[in-house]
Symmetry: D3
Subunit: 227 residues, 6 copies
Amino acid sequence: MFKHDKNLLEMVRVERPNPQYATMLQEQLGGPNGELKAALQYFSQSFRIKDPEIKDLFQDIASEELSHMEMVATAVNMLNGHDIDVTGTQPAGNIEANVLTGLAPYLTNGSGVPFTATYVNVTGDLPADILSNIAAEQRAKVVYEYLHRQINDKHVRQMIDFLLNREEAHNTLFRQAFQKIQANGSDRDWGVDEDARLYFDLSTPGVNHFNLNNPQAPSFQNPNLTQ
Amino acid sequence: MFKHDKNLLEMVRVERPNPQYATMLQEQLGGPNGELKAALQYFSQSFRIKDPEIKDLFQDIASEELSHMEMVATAVNMLNGHDIDVTGTQPAGNIEANVLTGLAPYLTNGSGVPFTATYVNVTGDLPADILSNIAAEQRAKVVYEYLHRQINDKHVRQMIDFLLNREEAHNTLFRQAFQKIQANGSDRDWGVDEDARLYFDLSTPGVNHFNLNNPQAPSFQNPNLTQ
Amino acid sequence: MFKHDKNLLEMVRVERPNPQYATMLQEQLGGPNGELKAALQYFSQSFRIKDPEIKDLFQDIASEELSHMEMVATAVNMLNGHDIDVTGTQPAGNIEANVLTGLAPYLTNGSGVPFTATYVNVTGDLPADILSNIAAEQRAKVVYEYLHRQINDKHVRQMIDFLLNREEAHNTLFRQAFQKIQANGSDRDWGVDEDARLYFDLSTPGVNHFNLNNPQAPSFQNPNLTQ
Amino acid sequence: MFKHDKNLLEMVRVERPNPQYATMLQEQLGGPNGELKAALQYFSQSFRIKDPEIKDLFQDIASEELSHMEMVATAVNMLNGHDIDVTGTQPAGNIEANVLTGLAPYLTNGSGVPFTATYVNVTGDLPADILSNIAAEQRAKVVYEYLHRQINDKHVRQMIDFLLNREEAHNTLFRQAFQKIQANGSDRDWGVDEDARLYFDLSTPGVNHFNLNNPQAPSFQNPNLTQ
Amino acid sequence: MFKHDKNLLEMVRVERPNPQYATMLQEQLGGPNGELKAALQYFSQSFRIKDPEIKDLFQDIASEELSHMEMVATAVNMLNGHDIDVTGTQPAGNIEANVLTGLAPYLTNGSGVPFTATYVNVTGDLPADILSNIAAEQRAKVVYEYLHRQINDKHVRQMIDFLLNREEAHNTLFRQAFQKIQANGSDRDWGVDEDARLYFDLSTPGVNHFNLNNPQAPSFQNPNLTQ
Amino acid sequence: MFKHDKNLLEMVRVERPNPQYATMLQEQLGGPNGELKAALQYFSQSFRIKDPEIKDLFQDIASEELSHMEMVATAVNMLNGHDIDVTGTQPAGNIEANVLTGLAPYLTNGSGVPFTATYVNVTGDLPADILSNIAAEQRAKVVYEYLHRQINDKHVRQMIDFLLNREEAHNTLFRQAFQKIQANGSDRDWGVDEDARLYFDLSTPGVNHFNLNNPQAPSFQNPNLTQ
């Protein structure tokens, strides 16, 4: 069951409306590495998880991502300002807010592409799902880094900073979970078959020095974390 | 902020696995009238609502729809059963569970079309948003009626019954909200312009007896509710 | 059978080309509340309608929406002007007209998202279909209100005025149809089940005063219309 | 302006309901080579055409394709039968009719993928648009050939026969139009540049005997048609 | 098997970064008439072709289109420049490069709509497939003509010139292939049925002078090519 | 530049046609974890990579994934058999092959959803891109495991075995690459900020034992690989 608390996870403010930035920030509302995608991915994956600790971890983070989505939507809403722009000259990507949603936040990426569940990765295999999540968190962090550079509003920067660091925390947690379950599921018997140890040099001229002589399912080792 | 309670809003059970029905039920997970769509629609609309009572109503129902989504996903997960079908002869619509998600619930409609935010209607105009919600709840109820007829599993029927009645409750609440705000926003000055009172008879031969002599913004009158 | 008359339903003119506004207006050509969506929705719904008067109504309005689509497309075409902009600096949303369609109108929303039938709601249940149409017409009116504010071209304003009022007329007609068929289909036995009369207060702190003690299927009562 | 005549372009009957075939036939309702796509393509292209004869041709055929769409939808509706299947074991592809549309025709392809305007090709260049239409008509004919083979219902076969031959007629007309306008627009100065006369043999071993020594914009020559 | 050569098919340079033009050029990377679409269409079609010469032709051109895709992506990458724009005021369509891809080329059209396989036409019928390809090449040429007019960068113009002429060469080759196979598959028995020789005048008033008295499957006759 | 060799990377055979399995296998042709997605992802990412060794690795693997796509398409084509099924009773998911593509392979997932570039993850940040690829390879392996279980055809099993092991090899290589570049880009300064070391316990009751006291950017350590 989901319950809503009218307090945001972390307070959201903006210095002033900034409709074009609102659009860019929408990338994290309804885009491929956005908060909705993250919430739905971890939520969907959680159903087939047997380990109660990991299942709880997925549900904790899914709930937090929903709460992040609410923060981002709140910021988009504030940045959109109070009134439809009557000049008829919208900045890039900000059209729908003026012709469709009445300045309400919209579940699209920064270019207006509607959110789609094709962004959500679920396999029912725990190693694959955790690796999908580590990658998703890393991409989310990168998008927040890009967004951070393009805004001077100190309140918005503060919110992005918070969210960026939270994605990093989730990432660390998923990496810990990966260590815990390693050599399970699709990570079993890694590199046993000969075909798994070949290198095909198909782009010429090639400079590759990687070798595959002794491959095994590697893990996320983190000295600091595993002490 | 969203918080998750590991207890479902209402207990979900199934008599036995039924993979094909799982697929059909998925219509209410990731389909156009499903629970995710409802939750995201009311959530997105709530940002521009000023009336605190109506804003609270939208947030209450959005949270409940998220909780419904969890119930439906739980049922789909149970109906999918324990093991990938090894016969290679999947019933209609049940392919992704066997080749992609490892039997985990998937955010698609009953035919495998991924959820898309194009299902979500937000206008920032309160009458339009409430009418969108009344229509959405009515359609959701109809889909549950169709789903109810096609399953004998008494536990699944019970869950559908519960969800169907909850959509009806939401519908009544949205109709009450519509009465409260009527003649606001896009419902103002209804039928004032002459063009709003014309009938174009473009499909021939026509039998239409509707007339538009005295149109005004109508409301949802419910004698029992308004006493 | 559909027949085409080279005369538009209402004459369309523009004061001068305005490529960016053309893009914004495209929202009503291929967007979620646009004319194509409306035409296809009523057309698709009409097949399962038994009441000849209501069936005729749906077909009349579907045909008119096709004619509206032609008017909007004509305006977009005129607003796009005569020549590809050679500056390589397109205003927001106007890229496809310059790189793809050679300034012809394109079936997308204002941001370039291609029309999709996911916008079209059909259930085969008459109350649900009519409510979907009432909501669709209300949203279409709101979009025209937003578009009206963002253009000074008096001819374009006149066209939008006409279309806006026509959506209002359709809305009134669908509300009349809803009254005619009420307590049928999915509106039967409203509020009979106890679960349909509960309120779940899931967003805290809540201020909701809505009550569900005596719910029944409400109708659109319009004193002026029902005399 | 579009007007609707309640008579179909050609009468549609079915020997008996056949829900799975209904689904397959839906390919021509909302699929990539279906009637809706054709109608919208020719309609959209017509706005930039200056030659009145060719513009009229495009509008004539667009209107006929809308009328075909109505015929196909009527057949799908009849083939879907009278009642929701209560067995919960839908044949491939027939799920949405039972859980969503209440057996009404739905604007998808045969697999349930919703119609999208990405199927529609518009360039504003007459040679390119006509060639797009010739190709579209040829593909539509092929789909009808496939559909014809997979049904024994004599009435459905008769309808498919009619539609297949109409696509052939449209195809011939578009080829005539191509002859009329040839060496215009994108067909001008064909093969003038040296790069337009090279052959890159990139798939080895190759057996290609095509040569590009003297390329010019070719036309559709039809001795019988040009006499 | 596909092999990659680190040399481009033709060298790509740009005079200077031009992020907005990068976006417009992306139309030919991931748009409906772009290089990826062309490559995948000819590749997919090639599997059912029996004539070894034509099969080889399709595979040669598919490989070349992949190599074109690489050239276009290289140009987009260079035009995007070296650094994320920190002004937060992206020109139309250039948002994703700044918030998502870190300036890497992205598989969308010029408006940010992700590439979709709905652009790809495959029928398994050789005349239909070849006509689809002729039309696709003609549209690709038109898009390059539009793109050519909107850029002054001489290196980019040179690349577009090359690609435009190559599409023309492919077009000529597909037209030659069409001549070779004519009156096969869906081109057999053209115009035999009476319904294939009727003209429905559905757009009034009409001026059409096309006639269908003696239709037969026409071919691409090119005097210069067939000598 | 891409060149095509008519020899497959590895020979493909099937014991007998199996149209339904063809459909399921299509998941790896045009699905979210399929070969086309992998090829396009690594290809797109390669443009912003500066390290020549890693750039070469990405291009080698992208080329191999294209060659895998060709193998999968070849198998789908063989499994589809020689003739359209005339019974009009297609097994789940196999409709398009019979009504649209004439049994040619089609770029969709197992349920007929067309390939979309929304599957492709590109960020321009090397750690994020490599982690995306590790996750993608892991998911691809899982899908092949599922597919392997559902077919008895020994030749198809052999092909799947080969492809599964190749994905494992790519995975190992990407993990090696991740080790090589670690603490770069988005992996710098990991866990420095306090917000990156908090755990929000939002799903109750919770059992989580994960701690975040000393988080640092972890790496893939593989004792066997790093000796």
